[in-house]
Symmetry: D2
Amino acid sequence: MNLPSPFSGIVPPLVTPLTGRDQLDHAGLERLIERTLAGGVAGLFILGTTGEGPSLSYRLRAEVIRESCRLVKNRAPVLVGITDTAFVESVALARVAAEAGANAVVAAPPYYLPEGQPELRDYLEDLLPEMPLPFFLYNMPSLTKVSFEVDTIRRFIDDARIAGVKDSSGNMVYFHRLCHLLRDRPDWSIFMGPEELLLDAVLAGAQGGVNGGANLFPALYVALHQAAARGDFARARHLHDVVLEVSSRLYQVGRHPSAIIKGIKCALSLEGVCDDFMAEPFRRFRPEDRDRIAEVLATLKATVTRALSAPTTA
Amino acid sequence: MNLPSPFSGIVPPLVTPLTGRDQLDHAGLERLIERTLAGGVAGLFILGTTGEGPSLSYRLRAEVIRESCRLVKNRAPVLVGITDTAFVESVALARVAAEAGANAVVAAPPYYLPEGQPELRDYLEDLLPEMPLPFFLYNMPSLTKVSFEVDTIRRFIDDARIAGVKDSSGNMVYFHRLCHLLRDRPDWSIFMGPEELLLDAVLAGAQGGVNGGANLFPALYVALHQAAARGDFARARHLHDVVLEVSSRLYQVGRHPSAIIKGIKCALSLEGVCDDFMAEPFRRFRPEDRDRIAEVLATLKATVTRALSAPTTA
Amino acid sequence: MNLPSPFSGIVPPLVTPLTGRDQLDHAGLERLIERTLAGGVAGLFILGTTGEGPSLSYRLRAEVIRESCRLVKNRAPVLVGITDTAFVESVALARVAAEAGANAVVAAPPYYLPEGQPELRDYLEDLLPEMPLPFFLYNMPSLTKVSFEVDTIRRFIDDARIAGVKDSSGNMVYFHRLCHLLRDRPDWSIFMGPEELLLDAVLAGAQGGVNGGANLFPALYVALHQAAARGDFARARHLHDVVLEVSSRLYQVGRHPSAIIKGIKCALSLEGVCDDFMAEPFRRFRPEDRDRIAEVLATLKATVTRALSAPTTA
Amino acid sequence: MNLPSPFSGIVPPLVTPLTGRDQLDHAGLERLIERTLAGGVAGLFILGTTGEGPSLSYRLRAEVIRESCRLVKNRAPVLVGITDTAFVESVALARVAAEAGANAVVAAPPYYLPEGQPELRDYLEDLLPEMPLPFFLYNMPSLTKVSFEVDTIRRFIDDARIAGVKDSSGNMVYFHRLCHLLRDRPDWSIFMGPEELLLDAVLAGAQGGVNGGANLFPALYVALHQAAARGDFARARHLHDVVLEVSSRLYQVGRHPSAIIKGIKCALSLEGVCDDFMAEPFRRFRPEDRDRIAEVLATLKATVTRALSAPTTA
């Protein structure tokens, strides 16, 4: 199965359901996949930041890849995060992904010692020839300390192995410049990470979003994308406000950057989708935080249901 | 072989000699080990930042561990970097280290999603029971984005599994507070990372340094440590000035953070010690940079020789 | 003259034309004001970041205020930047502004020692009672080191003295949350600083932009604002692309943050509008940079003219 | 009165005692000056960061300068902070200082729009000819966003108008390189800002410290400086530990960067030295924080007294 062309829509960065250290929650993964596919998503992104990719053993990452591909059964493209500080391991993961039938791989810069832009260029020159699948660049400077600058990406503008870019910088000026690359590569897909900017992104010409909240409310993000893409601005604004409410309420329980993943996993666990075990160094929310998530979740579910059932304008 | 008590002196963070992608330079590693041991170092630290640990495949990391221990033959303690974003892989590396006969392991915080201090505490609580060897905390906030705050470390003040701390923050206020922990744990060893602060560190009560330049000029750093430790302040200041000259000249060829490792590997290659291949995403210096290193190296060697042959004062 | 209600559109942050140290370029200021008013701007903002406010002596700041108000003659509201690290001087400037007939004042947080949010709250509680004119909060964290967090602003949601917010953070997630305040204060005006985000801002519900490029091409920014405000998305996207081209070409000559102001002043000088003397610590562009600006300017003028003369769609 | 040569020792950065907005606490200032002079300090630094210089009106800054010089009566050199974002105001303050009989001026980079190093060079070239008194560079990157890089300072190595450098970066690697400049300018004085690094600084060759805690315990910092300067390392280490205790206890009440100044002013107020009113945007500690300071102060006073009365070793 090739990537569809154009490849657009919502591609949830799936959490990785775990039952314990180094143990995949198989049933949870299946429920999560069925739920998001039923929500109308355009593809699935596994082993990204939300999927705790860098926290998982290689054995487990391979298991997640194989199991996800097996469960998806080509109903939607599977994108696999291969971001790693060890080049050889990224390549190995890409091969596992290709063998398992995944459709693309996604890599952020190696994230220990920060690279200069010429070094990122060298890196891509070394990595791309080893890639058995279409390749997405993943810009995530808050975690990798460096950006793929637009001028750096432009140097690979004719590279047929690249299929697009996922940007999680939150920097809309950068994102606008990124979208200008589509003039020369209309086949690329540019995806927005932070869901609060999904509407801005589609209006800027992007193909879609890789938004954590779509694990929980896939239909909400799909509806927002569709409204924006078809020019129904009033409805898009309304759904965008709901997304802002999800993000401002669900991701603020807990004070550290891990709060987003913990919040999504906790909500999924409350919904009966999957376990909320977190890979070390993190731990699941304690009872008091879980109670707050339960409270927030009840309100949000009502809000989302109401927003989705509203008659489509325009 | 246990860690000596007290464990003090210079412990070079060895570069990892490579002949190509995923290929260890065995002969180079042997020459490097013999050279540093001959320089009087107190131990060897492999697979740290200078050793490009996070850039190496797990297979290669295991090979480096086994081969280093085999070559050292218990002539000095071997400390093994197990820093990783995947908990399970850190534990696996620690086991390889223990089986190979290494003497301690060293870990910085998992360096993708930044942890809050309570999360670092949870992490240590999870990790320490799995450690088959004495454990050093490695504080490296510029690369991991978080510090082991002194209050966090203090919570483990009675933990017999911890053998000390390596601090590469460059923050002397922090370092002074760290050294105060020695009052309660006189058996701990506190090591300074940045070589420009080795003298300050010893005067602050630290046991020694884990200094990159000791790959190249082990005797210089050993002499500086000894002069400072025995109170020969005049000689220590003189050797300290030479170390500052090494760092200001050798590490400034190239503009990115990788310049330090590239500079040391390049100089070692010029000295005939080992190959200067860099693990991806980095590449060895190009000819023009290599020429500049050669020039700098010639001057520095003369300066170091002169400094070391000067009659000991006091 | 009161602020219009609603107060929306483009409010250029005027450069301060100078003929030398502490010397106002009167004729240049007059030409600049006439040019921007002719371009259809909704108001003028003097002594902001682009106006080098913090670099000017108090005597000169008072002169700029009085002279601008005299020249504008109530044809448009004049907003006066009173940002200062000294509270008493901010208050004094606000009084000068009120006496001169200005229409509002604008203040970013005192920018030396960074304030916590409770301290910013105290500051506003102290400052607002002293303000003789409607007050705009100015969020500029890259220069002041702190943000007016949305929760902090919300505490003043009922304060009649506040007329709106100018946000130059470049953070669209923040900006969306800011715009939600308009639900409770529909009389407020929220303005976007970075011109690359003017379109996003209007689509997010903002009233307009305070964009540096409007010193040079006022009609371009006015046209973009109007197209976006009336829902002519195709034309807005087109003009937005021209704005991106202005910003990517005109502001990149020179490597430091001052390059934007130097570039605008240099272009205005080439256009015969005013002198390009910069207040210390900065200096005007040297001949080679001026030549590059001249080259860029020629192209941009043609592009802007073409874009503005295109038939209005929709 | 000229600056002594060499100029070394402790130069407290005096707090500015205030009785209310824009009102100097004359009696408090006199008591503070007498107290610090009695403690043996080498000079006084007014209107620095601790002195809330940038928060004060120009009228008040002039009053502080004149009043301080009048009270000191040439018993010690007075250094005056003229740091400002407005060049013309810095020059004006320097002239007030010269007329009042001060002995030197001190300036950090203008701190609104960050300068590149060539711009800092231009700035010094413009500023130095206007200076009527010996000039100290003040490196304070956490507040000004830029450093005077050592290479930038080196360009002025032959400038007779420069008398030295105060460094508050907390970066000891930088500080060591700074001290190397003394080889070419043995008449310069290099002072350390953060008191936790005073001992390190003297051992690195610096002339002294500009340490906030010396407002409260001048004799402690003077004794530490003297012990370190005469090579009494055991006593210096002991006093250094007391300084660390002051800093870790007194400056940690309150969570924002202002906590240091608030803590010192509060303690001085409890000691009956001066009022603790803070210039806006800050406010004095509330009763509960004041109670904590009172508690900490009681302990610290006992510790300091004990340390100072201990028999001098060596």
